[in-house]
């Protein structure tokens, strides 16, 4: 009980202090702005596509963005075609059951989340190790609780950033499109939550690396480099997925990257979401724990 209370205290304190740091505020606001701008860009692209489609099909013109897409999306021939393309009934239902804007937001939020996590969290532990601020806590609780509190505090900040980006994207969609009501906001919030789960491995990675240095800048650079390495492994895993020689190692290595399991989070079934969540938490711990174990043994 004491440990749980201490964990809660450290988490809350981390959240409060980190939310006051200029870096976190700037990155969260930039993430929100990026989400709004990307949503606007996607809606512009959708509008252009619809205009061309209207011209080609000689349909009556409309000012409202998304009407043509939605009509097309819900038309029987289109759905029949999708069913033939996708084959898998569950995947088909997942795709056609969603609003196009929802899918746009899902794509952008999954795309930006790793960078958000690295920029917000990578320096947190390293900075405190460098300034010595962690020493004031170290004789009041265990190092493990301190690290865990940092982890949950940072997860809370990422959650705030994702929720704000979702609201921003929804506001933009509401301004630009019709039918962007409460159901869309709920759907977008759902995607924010899924991307929070997707953020956990990157959070584990950032904080795991942050344990290894006393310089926040170095920790951020390490995290960005490791993130790039992750994406490289993912890409190589896809390229060599059918290889039978040594290159097959890339496909095995790909299993240890979050991208290999993120499609579980794109599905709607509870089982799929549960599996995806489990994978993300496991990967997060795999990335975090080695860094923490080194930190536990080293001088503070």
């Amino acid at each position: 009980m004491t440990s749980l209370f201490q964990l809660w205290r450290i988490t809350c304190y981390e959240w409060f202090t980190a939310m006051r740091s200029r870096r976190a505020v700037v990155v969260v606001l930039l993430f929100m702005a990026a989400s709004v701008c990307t949503m606007n860009f996607c809606i512009n692209a959708l509008q252009k596509m619809e205009q061309e489609l209207t011209k080609v099909l000689e349909l009556p013109e409309t000012e409202q963005v998304g009407v043509v897409s939605k009509t097309l999306w819900q038309s029987k021939p289109f759905r029949r075609m999708m069913r033939h393309i996708v084959y898998n009934k569950d995947v088909y239902n997942d795709l056609v059951g969603r609003h196009p804007v929802e899918l746009m937001y899902a794509w952008l939020v999954f795309f930006y989340t790793p960078l958000l996590v690295v920029l917000v969290s990578a320096n947190r532990i390293a900075d405190e190790l460098g300034s010595g601020a962690c020493r004031y806590v170290a004789f009041r609780c265990s190092r493990s609780l301190w690290s865990a509190g940092k982890y949950f505090g940072q997860a809370a900040i990422i959650a705030v950033a994702l929720m704000l980006s979702g609201i921003g994207a929804w506001v933009m969609a509401s301004i630009r499109m019709h039918e962007a009501g409460w159901p869309l906001l709920i759907a977008i919030t759902g995607w924010s939550m899924r991307s929070l789960i997707y953020a956990l491995p990157f959070l584990g990675l950032s904080l795991g690396l942050s344990h290894l240095t006393r310089s926040g800048s170095k920790a951020t650079i390490f995290a960005i480099m490791t993130l790039a390495l992750c994406f490289l492994i993912e890409a190589l895993a896809v390229v060599f997925r059918n290889a039978n020689d040594w290159k097959a190692l890339f496909s095995y290595a790909g299993v240890f990257t979050p991208a290999a399991h993120k499609f579980f989070l794109w599905r709607s079934t509870p089982l799929s979401l549960a599996v995806g969540t489990l994978w993300m938490i496991t990967l997060s711990l795999c990335y975090l724990i080695p860094g923490h174990l080194i930190f536990k043994k080293r001088d503070m």
């Binding site: 004491t2 205290r9 304190y13 006051r20 010595g132 020493r135 170290a138 004789f139 009041r140 001088d299």
Partner: protein
């Protein structure tokens, strides 16, 4: 004499450099003990090792009778002012101290009460809710000292607590530290020997990662068992004076400018010695001043 902290032959190496070379020390319970040593002698390393910040290669630490530092066992019972460690700059003094108090196991009310009390005691009542990053160096130092005293821990280790403070605050901090609760043990590492002399009951001398001597401040300065007479430079014989005070030991400096009189305070008082010695001295020389014992600085310069 019960010890609050015992370290036995602790060794700490940084690569090929040995910071603590088998340091053994015993800190008496309920005392204020000063650590004295040259730069790099190992004082800070010793404190950090005791607090569990550093991993020692060998030796043992017994903290409040509970073995080496264990957060589950020592939480709220020890505190430390680490050297060169900044507080979280985005936070506020009161909020931070309440947070630390809560981590130590204090209730919300106790933590709030204790945090306000210590911040008021270090003259920061008007800065409780000011961001730490906007405070001056001295103010931050006072917050750092204040955090050590939340919840009345049994053992407090202060590494250079008075450096960077203005004279008024140094005096206030001395009063604050010396007004410790009964049963509290304080260890202070400092190069300011005047402050240590005023504050401490015991002094531990540290040299090259080892303890060279532990003594009471009384043993070192002789405040209650020695009188020092600063005289005008006149040739003087101590033989005649010794006849007047057979129970005292008189020592004259080479330049005949200082006469030390060591005595057993159970047999003779300072007043009795002065009554006898001053008229005798005035017959043959002049007295510039009279001091009780030697300053710690004088002793330390001889010791190190």
């Amino acid at each position: 004499m019960k010890a609050a902290l015992i370290t036995n032959s602790i060794v700490k190496r940084y690569g090929s450099k040995t910071a603590l070379n088998g340091m053994t020390a015993s800190i008496p319970s309920s005392s204020i003990t000063g650590l004295i040593g040259a730069n790099g002698a190992g004082k800070t390393t010793w404190m950090m090792a005791v607090a569990g910040f550093l991993r020692i290669q060998s030796g043992s630490v017994n903290l409040l009778g509970g073995g080496p530092f264990n957060p589950a066992l020592h939480r709220g019972r020890i505190s430390i002012l680490p050297q060169d460690s900044e507080l979280p700059c985005e936070s506020y003094p009161l909020e931070t101290l309440i947070h630390y108090g809560r981590l130590q196991g204090l209730s919300k009310h106790e933590a709030d009460h204790s945090a306000r009390n210590v911040l008021t005691a270090v003259h920061l009542a008007d800065r409780m809710n000011t961001p730490i990053r906007t405070l001056s160096h001295g103010m931050r130092k006072r917050v750092m000292i204040a955090q050590c005293f939340i919840g009345k821990p049994e053992l407090i280790m202060l590494d250079e607590p008075l450096s960077g403070l203005d004279p008024r605050e140094v005096a206030n901090m001395r009063n604050f530290i010396s007004a410790k609760s009964p049963g509290q043990t304080i260890v202070i590492s400092s190069h300011n020997l005047y402050d240590l002399e005023l504050l401490c009951d015991y002094i531990v001398f540290v040299k090259k990662g080892r303890t060279t001597r532990t003594a009471t401040i009384e043993e070192l300065t002789g405040k209650t068992a020695m009188l020092v007479y600063n005289l005008t430079h006149t040739p003087l014989s101590t033989a005649d004076l010794s006849e007047l005070l057979p129970e005292c030991t008189l020592t004259l400096s080479d330049t005949h400018s200082q006469l030390s009189c060591s005595f057993d305070k159970t047999r003779v008082s300072a007043e009795q010695i002065n009554a006898t010695l001053i008229p005798a001295l005035l017959k043959s020389t002049g007295i510039i001043s009279i001091e009780r014992g030697r300053s710690l600085e004088e002793r330390v310069l001889n010791e190190l």
